[in-house]
Subunit: 448 residues, 2 copies
């Protein structure tokens, strides 16, 4: 074993960074044995040096991150600051000065992955980021390496723990969105400003990264269709149950137009209770992968948190250090397929639509005609009293059965597979019908 | 991209080998792009060359596998023959002649992994075998690389699809073992001679490989405690249900004696229905990994079959080819921890024991005394009529309650955590009691 240590610079020493530093110290012997050389924490860049950091030599702490990555004797820079700047400039500078980089920065990778990969390749260094997607769950490496001889067709993932906690709570207790969010906040699962999570920005960044790796195609954050989950209601969960489904916020990356393009999207969706993703509880993450040869795979685990994220960072650190000792680099960006990214309108799936309609004869015929005119085939249709979820759903015969005198009714339509563009056109036309008082909810049905 | 192809020799062209060859042909362009050079099938060694092999150039087929691996121009040998010989000799010869090796051979790796790794290292070549454990599921690579910076404490896996199919069938239909086995055989999930599967030999080989990688310690097949699942009964499933459990054949690798040693074992066990492994259905495999930093991870997918296994083989092939182009090798054997492997007696877990006892006063006191004398603490005890599973279980108070006049009764004892040695001593003593007519079943309770 080499005795001269590999030098690691740590950028950021918050929840994740402090765990990385702790494990580097407590597991130093194991890391050395696994790498083939000791690793030494050579510097820690932080914004507030005054904050006490247990177990970290104060002499290593600096506020000048740029000087740290420029030192020239640093073998690996671990970036756990997050956000676009100064992380982007620091990573680029680190690569230019001969360091390999391990990052947990999903936002940056989703936005500028191509440029960063190009910089890594130019300088013959590694850029690894297992921790950027789904925390501790090995996902980037399996997709990039284990499935390198296979053809991935779809990635379907619960990649945000906060929203899964909220949706699981709504599902298991019947709580509304706000009540479940309040509990998530109280328990520390949601941040004071939960926007990045509940509006799907966090999941969209991960979807961009996953789609890029899965399809060997550059997919940027802007390419990802994104809908948050703030409008999911307790009534939606009751509707889902009646379908034998639950509701999850999913990141979905799949091939479209017969494989000629790819799509990436984040939105709440119904999935059957029998689907492995349906039983992912609390703040756990899981990613379901479908490929030609392997079939259906699932990867499950904690998607966030200091220690789990540090586990992923350290796995990358070991790999990058080994590469460095061997004078090699690991797999870089693979974007050779360069498939176009299709817009959301090209996505084909099923839909569950709840309509508030006038309770009079002929409404169903009108509604069914609109679906037919837009080429959207109806699988089932049911009429419910306005007291939704009371269990009094009535099967409706085509031709106006199920009518009740006076007031409003709720019509639930589940479609066969149709394009998002066709569905959007259908909904626009439905809104123009006099007898349709409102479109209460539109939910995609996935994982069937 | 390099234009001169890397040459691959395929040993074996059965269910897996023919899929490997097929994908190498149909996905040639993708493989070339991902590797950075084309790969060429340079020879296929088979036993019966007369058998027609669709899509394989007959000029490549040979019965002289030794000559093929000795050719000297072969970059990678893919071994999908299985069994110990001639696979061992061929792999060793291949490494000596400068080829890297990708193998799907669990039996060989479990028995001779150390020697094969040593040969690979001596000759500066790779030995990869993702396909040897749990088919398509990326598991070796995540354990060996993604978790290289973490400390794995336990691996708990369903690693044999045949037995999971049988147990799942028994669980869902109430069928007995033979009936479920017959169905598995009829559907092609079980071989004509199912011994390797149902007696746990297959799972034990995988347990040895997993334990070795997880704990950086050499664990051989002989080190693995093995019990098959042929004695699991419909009554056991009814008992499991009453505990909120199901029964799975598990491969369990864990640290013992406070981390000073490791254990590896295969046996049927009850696990709670809430455990992620409990919902693994049919012939699917799943492996649950617990580590210090990452926490709880699970990897799920098809554990066998031509295409899934080929997916794993091809992932390794791409990695090994990349290494070869980069003049590097991937991670080899990591056995630096060299922990002792503890015998089964050191394993600590909970137990569910069904006793046939005389139905008279004082029996429970006698039985409880035996447990106490062996230091095994009882969690719950219940008395059941002989018509087990009829739902007439009666809670028994300490002191002889629940007695029924005449005949036999069944006593179900669930213990707290105790060593296997203590439990074995307890059972031996119980068998000597006049009032204990027989020990109907002993089942470990895991995953709590």
């Amino acid at each position: 074993m080499r005795t001269r240590p590999l030098k690691v610079a740590l950028l950021g020493c918050g929840v994740v960074g402090s765990e990385v530093a702790r494990i580097m110290t407590t597991h130093a012997d194991d890391l050395a044995a696994r790498i083939g050389a000791p690793v030494e924490l050579a510097g820690v860049a932080v914004r507030r040096p005054s904050k006490v950091r247990a177990g970290i030599d104060p002499a290593l702490v600096t506020t000048d991150a740029t000087a740290l990555v420029k030192r020239g004797d640093i073998d690996v820079v671990v970036e756990v600051i997050g956000g676009i700047e100064p992380a982007r400039a620091l990573i680029t500078t680190a690569l230019e000065h001969g360091a390999s980089v391990v990052s947990a920065n999903k936002a940056l990778l989703a936005q500028d992955g191509a440029a960063l990969h190009a910089a890594a390749e130019e300088h013959g260094r590694d850029l690894y980021y297992e921790a950027a997607v789904a925390g501790a769950i090995p996902l980037i490496r399996p997709l990039r390496e284990s499935l390198a001889g296979d053809k991935v067709n779809r990635v379907l993932g619960i990649v945000n723990g906060t929203t899964n906690f909220i949706l699981d709570k709504m599902d298991s207790t019947g709580a509304g969105y706000q009540e479940a969010l309040d509990e998530a906040t109280a328990l520390g699962y949601a941040e004071a400003d939960p926007t990045a999570d509940v509006e799907g920005f966090d999941a969209a960044a991960k979807a961009a990264i996953l789609a890029g790796i899965a399809f060997h195609t550059r997919v940027r954050l802007d390419d990802v269709h994104r809908e948050g989950m703030t409008e999911v209601t307790a009534a939606d969960f009751r509707s889902a149950r009646e379908m034998g489904c639950t509701i999850k916020l999913l990141a979905i990356c799949e091939r479209a137009r017969g494989g000629a393009s790819v799509t990436a999207r984040v939105h709440p969706a119904m999935i059957p209770l029998s689907h492995p993703l349906a039983s992912v509880r609390g703040a756990y993450n899981a990613v379901f992968v479908e490929s030609d040869a392997a079939g259906q795979l699932m990867f499950y685990g904690p998607g966030a948190g200091g220690a789990p994220t540090a586990s992923a960072v350290l796995g990358d650190l070991v790999a990058v250090c080994r590469n460095r000792l061997g004078g090699a680099t690991g797999p870089g960006e693979s974007a050779y397929a360069a498939l176009p990214v299709s817009p959301m309108g090209d996505v084909v799936t099923r839909y569950h639509i709840s309509l508030d309609v006038a309770d009079k004869p002929g409404v169903l015929a009108q509604v069914a005609t609109v679906f037919a005119e837009h080429g959207v085939s109806i699988d089932t249709v049911r009429q419910q009293g306005k007291n939704q979820g009371s269990g009094d759903a009535v099967a409706v015969e085509q031709g106006g059965g199920g009518r009740r005198e006076g007031g409003e009714a709720s019509l639930v339509v589940v479609t066969h597979r149709a394009s998002d563009a066709s569905l959007t056109g259908t909904v626009e036309a439905l809104r123009k019908l006099d007898t349709v008082r409102g479109v209460a909810s539109i939910m995609r049905v996935e994982g069937e």
